[in-house]
Amino acid sequence: MTGIDEALGALLAMRQELLGILGLSLLVSGAAIVAAMAIGVPAGIFLGLHDFPGRRFLVTVVNTGMGLPPVVVGLVVFLLLARAGPLGGLELLYTPSAMIVAQVIIATPLVVGITLAAVQALDPRVHLQILSLGASRRQYWWKLVQEARLSLVAALAAGFGSIVSEVGAVMMVGGNIKGQTRVMTTAIVLETRQGNFTLAIALGVLLLALALALNWLFTSVQQRSKG
């Protein structure tokens, strides 16, 4: 049990710093998932409802994007935001904003893909039913969101889970700067590299606990609204 005591002790000793790291993880990934949902849900509904030239290509792009390697996203965002890059004047590299941008790019295809699948899986009669009630376009989309809400919660959970646990992109564009851009995953990498396995394990457990708690929350929302 001494290993666990040691881990707890190490955690308590750096509680302040740890809370900052945990808070930044939640802030960055939280902001990113909100943006990804705001972009991804309408895009997914649109792709699910309309047929147009190039749609198949777009869907292929979305499906590919669902498995986008985070380090590639990190590289692209790095090159865009570096001082010599096209957006260098914004001086965003190595800031939480850069990390949010990278995570939005990682999470959005997941949200689009899951929304798209959900809209297409709805009973075709639902569409007719809503439209026959004389719904405006806006009301129609809102109704679809309500019908597909179970899947949208799944999109939220999947998107958030993928970015909060991601390390490659945030390391590249955030820089793992203590007190500024250090998040749970990059802190784990640092502690492991330094041989502080106790602390690394403790951080890992904390990250898992966080994922568990959030998914429990999402699931209870999802399953309640089912009834």
Binding site: L93, Y94, M171, K178, T186, L190, R193, G195
Partner: protein
Amino acid sequence: MGFASRLAFALLVLGLPAAPSGAAAGETLILATTTSTQDSGLLDVLLPAFEAEAGIRVKTVAVGSGEALAMGRRGDADALLVHSKTAEDAFMAEGFGALRLDVMYNDFVLVGPGADPAGARGSDALEAFRRIFEAGAAFVSRGDQSGTHRKEQDVWKRADLDPSGKPWYLSAGQGMGETARIASEKRAYTLIDRGTWLALRRTLDLEVVSEGAKDLLNTYRVIVVSPEKHPKTHVEEARRFAEWLVAPETQKRIGEFGREKYGRPLFVPDARK
């Protein structure tokens, strides 16, 4: 079961011929060293020459100085090539080392943005650090307890300054290359070893601010692990390796290394005459 019978049993199990021809099979040596000597390519030049001359095979384990010394303590290495004065002193004082010799040094350079907001250019290391501190100019630290990080902390300490917690003091917790990249993008100062600087300077928007001071030297020493605590270490082979490293011929090789590629040597031979 005695040692001989255990050995015989092991050989039998492994299906090896029971009568290897003396020297060819035996003489090996485990060298624990720092990643910098390995990554710079110096060992790739030195070790084959030693192996050919002495007929001793060298197995290299490249880790940080701290980890290399720990291997020596456990008797897992026969010779160490490290650069961490304080930790080495403790190692020797506790009787883990039979012999320690200076081999070479490389140096660190303080680099920063061309605009030099702290006005530190041309000052010696302590003064430059002082000016950065007073100006509150951005400084990126490795922040990973590496040899370079220790060196940087050491310079702050000598200058009687404590930058930790200051908003302009960024602790990157990454390797030298990434840390330099952050400094370049953030228009910040950073302390970098000469080898990495020479290799990366073309891709960085940074200039040398201070160099050449004694405070920025980094001395590498070879330590022969004492057989007193770990009788099974290959002390004879290790001693031959240590003496070979400080021999005039080898020292000359060290002084030549990197001159062709970077226009100047990466390490300066430093064996006491």
